[in-house]
């Protein structure tokens, strides 16, 4: 769009907003620097998807949000996503946090679970130590811009040796296409701690025809030695939203990160999930499930960089493409010199349901060490007519047969998801998007 500037913020505006929110000086400076960097850096260039043709600067403007007293006040479209009496719950609406809660028990154990803006004011040292460490602020225009404009967000800190049983949950949603929606999620799991975080990224627009809005989010997960983090995120926003999601974890010795990503969003999507296995014996497991429909374009990437010895990465992406949807699915396993006994496995599978849909799988192995094992498998195909015939020969209608086969394609991954509630929710969202 010609009316859009190439960079929608500048240093002065970013710093002024930061000061008006009472943010610490270091954060104001960081935002200003991000705005400046964003003027010179380039947008990320994912394989075969021209995201520069998307309306990437439609980020809206900051709009303060009124807090709500309880989850009951949420719009109906998202109120069922509030979870069953969660141990902790944070809700972001558009540009700001409107609700947050953490059980007294977890508070007493020293767990911090709040919005990132508040955390930056109240736990400044901790936040400053880790913010933009897993994702470099100057990586590209997206990360720079995000560092300038991020709002609301989530900060989760789990102290040493604390094991959090129940999932901590967040709901991040947009219902105003003119308001900036840019959550930053920072998770720090200290030595030998354990935690599960689950979020829903959703929208609640009245009627159709809302203006284009870019939702950009950056997730950083710091997994300290021996810690174990499960990060589950399910995206299902309306078509007018462009979803730009960057997720990175740094995993120290014997730490473990598990990613569960449901890319069930209806608009264009850039979803990039990577783990840096820095420590010896560190492990990463990523499962990505996606359904594309309409004219959606998606770039879905999983990645693992092995630095630590005996580090292990598992990555699985399964995508079903309907209508005229396109998905480019990248898997990047990189094993650095010295990462002896490392093992990396990746699988990308695409099932295309219509002649106009398209799916590409690009497995990439970059290996600079001899003493390692690595493997990849990729496939792109259509529903097998022989299988449809077999099911129909038992009286099952064509439509139901295809439904069974498609669900069956996703099932081996969905069934492996270790959190029952997330599994259930994914199933119903999958069903919804497949039936639509």
């Amino acid at each position: 769009m010609s009316t859009q500037l190439s960079t929608p913020v500048n240093r002065e505006a970013a710093e002024a907003l930061s000061r008006s929110k009472g943010e610490p000086a270091w954060l104001t400076a960081l935002r200003g620097q991000g705005a400046e960097l964003s003027e010179t850096l380039e947008w990320p260039k994912p394989e075969k998807v021209r995201i520069d043709r998307w309306d990437l600067t439609a980020i809206g403007g900051y709009k303060p949000q009124a807090a709500i007293a309880s989850a009951d006040e949420l719009p109906e479209a998202v109120s069922n996503l509030s979870g069953e009496s969660p141990a902790g719950f944070v809700v972001q609406r558009n540009s700001g946090i409107v609700f947050k809660q953490l059980s007294a028990e977890l508070q007493s154990k020293g767990v911090i679970f709040t919005d990132l803006e508040t955390a930056a004011r109240e736990h400044g040292d901790l936040v400053q130590q880790y913010l933009f460490k897993a994702v470099a602020q100057d990586e590209d225009k997206l990360t720079a811009l995000h560092s300038a404009i991020w709002n609301g967000g989530v900060f989760l800190y789990v102290p040493k040796n604390v094991e959090v049983e129940l999932p901590l949950q967040a709901l991040l949603f947009s219902d105003d296409a003119e308001a900036t929606f840019a959550p930053h999620i920072l998770v720090v799991a200290d030595n030998n701690s354990r935690v599960t975080y689950v979020d829903n990224v959703s929208s609640a627009f009245e009627g159709a025809g809302a203006a284009t809005l870019v939702k950009q989010s950056v997730v950083e997960v710091i997994v300290k030695p021996g810690a174990h983090v499960r990060f589950a995120t399910i995206h299902h926003m309306a078509e007018n939203i462009i979803d730009l999601s960057i997720r990175r974890a740094i995993v120290e010795n014997d730490g473990r990160i598990e990613w569960i990503v449901g890319d069930l969003h209806d608009g264009n999507t850039l979803s990039d999930t990577r783990s840096l296995l820095r420590g010896n014996g560190s492990t990463s497991d990523a499962k990505v499930i996606s359904i594309g429909s309409g004219k959606q374009q998606m770039s879905l990437t999983t990645g693992a960089v092995h630095v630590g010895r005996s580090s292990d990465s598992q990555m699985v992406t399964r995508a079903v493409m309907k209508d005229a949807a396109t998905a480019i699915i990248n898997g990047v396993t990189k094993i650095e010199k010295g990462a002896t006994k490392a093992n990396g496995e990746q699988t990308e599978k695409v099932l295309m349901l219509s002649p106009k849909s398209r799916g590409d799988a690009n497995p990439i192995l970059l290996i600079d060490e001899d003493d390692v094992t690595a493997g990849h498998a990729a496939s792109v195909g259509q529903v097998n007519p022989e299988q449809v015939y077999y099911l129909m020969s038992r009286g099952i209608s064509k439509r139901e047969a295809e439904r069974l086969i498609i669900n069956g394609f996703l099932a081996p991954v969905v069934e492996e998801i270790p959190i029952e509630a997330v599994q259930e929710q994914l199933r119903s969202l999958l069903e919804r998007k497949l039936e639509a």
């Binding site: 097998n384 007519p385 022989e386 299988q387 015939y389 077999y390 099911l391 129909m392 020969s393 038992r394 009286g395 099952i396 209608s397 064509k398 139901e400 047969a401 069974l404 086969i405 669900n407 069956g408 394609f409 996703l410 099932a411 081996p412």
Partner: protein, 259 residues
């Protein structure tokens, strides 16, 4: 109404190659018909054409089940009308558990609003699996995935028993079965014999027919039924092979669709 299945002048081709050259056959409820014949003579093609395999085009003739022409129906409608085919090579379907599949099939047959409750379904499925001496874990395995040849055949019979069809076509149900499994499968089939149900059994071996006694035996060559008789015909074929039939009928090449 007593089941009546009439195949009349059925012709079918695959990739424009005519394989079935006019099949005529009548099966009444309570009857067991066996079809034998050398490899590549059109036996499986007949089974596939009856069921409506997408690769086979029926070019002429009818196959009516109690007055309704199955050839006018889609595959799923044929099944719901009462036709069942135990396939020579059943498909494997990842991610769909055997029990989810069976339940979908049973409920498709029963129709909307008349679905079997989960408890009743499980009871039925487990009962039949026990009869077939199937390990209960097969309920939770993905459909036919990694099943051995014999396990797949047993699973076909399980489906037959649960779906209660009117006309059952068994395509080489005995291939891949060990002797004990053959007896179990045959007992399963025999338990389903009734006045309401007819059987068409495709086999190469008399051995199966020792356990499932046929009323009629047909020989297929060149895409046609070239000879019919009683159980004694199967015994003679077992002992003497097909040469005498070919000689009698002046057939040199019994296969079909090679030219």
């Amino acid at each position: 109404m007593a089941t009546q299945f009439v195949i009349d002048g059925l012709t079918a081709s695959i990739e424009d190659k005519e394989i079935l050259k006019g099949i005529n056959l009548e099966i009444k409820g309570g009857e067991v018909h066996a079809i034998m014949g050398p490899n590549g003579t059109g036996k499986s093609t007949l089974a596939s054409a009856l069921m409506g395999h997408p690769k086979y085009e029926v070019t002429g003739g009818t196959a009516t089940l109690n007055g309704e022409d199955l050839m006018e129906m889609a595959t799923d409608e044929r099944a719901r009308a009462g036709l069942f085919l135990a396939m020579q090579y059943p498909s494997e379907i990842t991610g769909v558990t055997n029990s989810d599949f069976l339940r979908s099939a049973i409920n498709a047959r029963r129709g909307e609003g008349n679905e079997l409750s989960l408890i009743k379904f499980i009871r039925q499925m487990e009962g039949k699996m026990k009869e077939l001496e199937m390990n209960p874990e097969f309920a939770h395995r993905y459909l036919n995935e990694g099943f051995s040849g014999g396990e797949k055949k047993r699973n076909e019979i399980l489906q037959m028993m649960l779906l209660d069809p009117k006309i059952v076509v068994l395509d080489e149900i005995d291939s891949g079965l060990d002797i004990d499994a053959l007896k179990i499968v045959a007992a399963g089939v025999n338990s389903m014999r009734s006045e309401e149900r007819g059987f068409l059994i495709i086999t190469h071996y008399q051995r199966l027919l020792n356990y499932i006694k046929p009323d009629f035996v047909h020989v297929m060559m060149q895409g046609r039924i070239v000879k019919s008789g009683g159980p004694e015909l199967a015994e003679r074929l077992e002992n003497e092979g097909y040469d005498w039939v070919k000689e009698e009928l002046g057939i040199v090449d019994e296969t079909v669709g090679q030219a």
